[in-house]
Amino acid sequence: MLVDRRKAAVFGAALVLRLLLWVLFPSLPDLLTGRVEVSTPVNSFKRLQEGLFMYTRNVSPYDGGVFHQAPLLLPIFALLPNAREYPLPTAIFYSMVDLANANALVTISDSGQALSGRLHSALRKHVRYDGVAVAAWFLFNPFTIATCLSRSTNVFTTCGILYAISNAGSGNSVNAMLALGFASYLSIYPALLFIPLVLLCYDRRVQKTKASSNAAVFSVQYFGILLGSVAGLLGISCLIVADFWQFISATYGFQLLVPDLTPNVGLWWYFFIEMFDSFREFFLGVFWLHLACYVGGLTIRLRRQPLFVLTALLGIFAIFKPYPSISDASLYFAFLPLYRHLFPLMRYTFFTVSALLYATLLGPAFYHLWIYAGSGNANFFYAITLVWSLGLSILLADTVFAALREEWEQDNPELRGKDIRQV
């Protein structure tokens, strides 16, 4: 039972750390809740409380134009005592969600899909972290802790995505689709993960039963399950909110059309502040297509490693989605230790880590200069978000390169260790 004791120690330490931070720095959660890097209009806990206040008083939560999150969160949070007077239950709840997420990561790691799948088997299998290490990497990541303390509702989307992938990895395809439906219901973009996820499910099914069925029929079946789960959740939402179309336009309309240009760590807000009004719709389309068009290309190119496609897409979402926050980056970072065997093939690790640290430290400083001190302007903060996105993009490109290089070495074993050159 050595492994279990390690796991218990890591999970216990993570829980204690979170609660300690809550108890020792009572103002820290509220400070983080107000930070634009952590809280965006679609996941802010403050806005959730506003919606909750209206919901408990029988007013449509979307009336104020402040709340843009899924209505199912409201009854869940209505069960918890008021976060302002009794912060501890909320703290414990969020910490538990974090632990559940970590547990899903352990499952993903233990399924071994990152190392070998149906069509693929890594060369450096011995270079790996075990599940507890992966979970520790996630639980003690400062970005994850900040997300947890800020009580961002993004953790539920993260939870949905992680459970979808862990269920797919362990072969529970239906559960995977239900979890993905939950994540897509909360914030639309996880639906883009469907294709690689269904391929992962398909590979597991073929591995298990040893009989290959038609992939297309399989996908259509599971797409039906996904649609059914989303429709079911929407149906339950109908019971909560009276006006269905108001709910759709306040949540999904808000996420698709990006009307709130509050600064965040992403690339959209500044662009749409500057864009001519008549081109706004066009570039909304361009940005969404840009986000979506990687799915097909990556899935085809990395067909042998669906889990890696999922990881790369999570990285792309963290950079290019409309309201990104550091919680999206923390989800991407959580998957990277699964690919410990690719680290030796990566080339710009130092530069990436430096750029990300640089952006992490200077971002709040420049935001302060712009908003509070008044000695800087929007370009200060925008420049730092560019550096942040650059760091993430290089990390993403580097890992994709490493994965491709590994595939290449599998195909051409005699060329292992040779330098790469452009021809």
Binding site: S121, S278, F282, V286, L289, H290, G296, T299, E414
Partner: protein, 556 residues
Amino acid sequence: MTTKNEDLGSSPQTTSDPDNTATTIMSSKTSAQRVPPPEKPEATRARFKVIAAFWAVIILLGLPIWWKTTSIYRAHLPFQEMVDWADGKSCRPVFPLEIQIAAPSMPDPEAQLLLRTTQHTLDDLNEFSAHHLRLKLTEDGDNTGYIKEETHEKADTALTVRLVPQDNLPTPRSELSPETTQLDVFYSPNQSPVPSSSNSPLSTFIAGELQRLFSEEKATIAHILSNGHTQLSENISRRLRRSLKYADTYHLAFSLFTPGPAPSSWAVQEAIEDYLSPLLQAFAPISNFTVDTQVQLYATFSPTAPLPEFVESQSAWTLKQEDLSAFVNAAEWPLSPSIGSGPTINFLLYVPDPSQSPMVVKENTATSWIIPQWGGVFLLNPPLPTENPSNPPHLSKDSLRPAFMTFSHQLLTLLGTPTTPTSLPFRLQTLIRIRAATLLLSASSTMGSLARLTESLPSIPIPATVAASVSTTLSHLSATCTHLREGRFSAALDNARVAETEAERSFFEKSMVGQVYFPDEHKVAVYLPLLGPIGVPLVVGLLKEVKRIVKGLKGR
């Protein structure tokens, strides 16, 4: 090698692969590091699929989005009709004024004869055909002095001439009643026309009187219809210079300014209700009004303004006439230029400090003056107690009476009401006709400008609301024209006001105006830097792939 075999074994194209890999290994061994091993067909196919996947997204989703979001909606506008209105081809405004002649004491044939001869004389005198007077006998002789209610069938009566026989008059005499549109003509019965002569002193007199009464209106309308090409008399052009541009709504701002602490209140509401509201109601068919008031204590002159001087002979503080323009301290007195849409007319009531009271204008001891196109000023010098002189803390309604009488007079001038003749209803009717003509021309020319603008800029969108506004404008313009031709001037003005409002709304439509300054060249600046970085790799990838396919076809 085991992993690789597994790997290849599971891929669908297994039959030829072992040979293929063998040759690959052979060739790469011989050429060392120089030449990379040739790509496997599997990899080539994968690359083709990747490129196809990206292009499929672009073509299937990107192109429709591009088409949908950047296509410009241009509602259909009746260009020819709009230009015709602007060129004056659609409507030639005419002003047939109906004048009722009431001759209760005259036998009917005689009255008919008088009517004919007078009309003949009038037509001879008139040299401006668009504006002509039509005489008509009142059916009901007793119904004199009664302004007909506006109906849609009958023309407005511009003037009623009542013939009153009076003995011992050497020449006919006329009298215009100041409160109605009625002209009393006194004549001795021997001046009435006789069938034998084509002219009579009475008909000549009436024709002359009518011509005189309508001379200012006629000159003004001729001036408007000719787009300001005709010469105006000094009197009329001065009036036009002073008056404000027409607006649907005027904001009246009444301000009490005083350099000291008193008076700190005034009975302005009662004063406006009693002295001004009747006038504003009379103006209701022409314009709407909103009224604001304010009191400003310790309002000082601007430091550069010349100070009033004490003149012993007048025993008053005097302001020089040429210094009156500096009287209003525009920098410090809170006189906002405009409240909402529409112009503001300011009326200033200035109560001088007791130490400078009474204050008058030096040259003519006047206490009020008009500021052209801006408003009016009135100096109120309240009676001061002899010992310890100070201004009264409250201005009663009665003490405001002279000021508000002056203000109402100034308001008439500022709104462009003709100065002659003396009857107010008559002048207001004249104003209705003048405004109808002005609005008809201005709305028509706005239509022309809109047509030219939308034709010369094919890239600006035309929202459906603009098309709706244009059609409303055009229909109201033609209604205006019909009403004018049939002499219903109030109805004409009503339609012209709607036409003008709609024309302005369509011309200043926000979504159109924003695009006016966005030429097509700017689109290159929008598309290229933003889509270039994405487009270049995609296009290069596509070209390479096409090249490879063409090569493969040729090789075969």
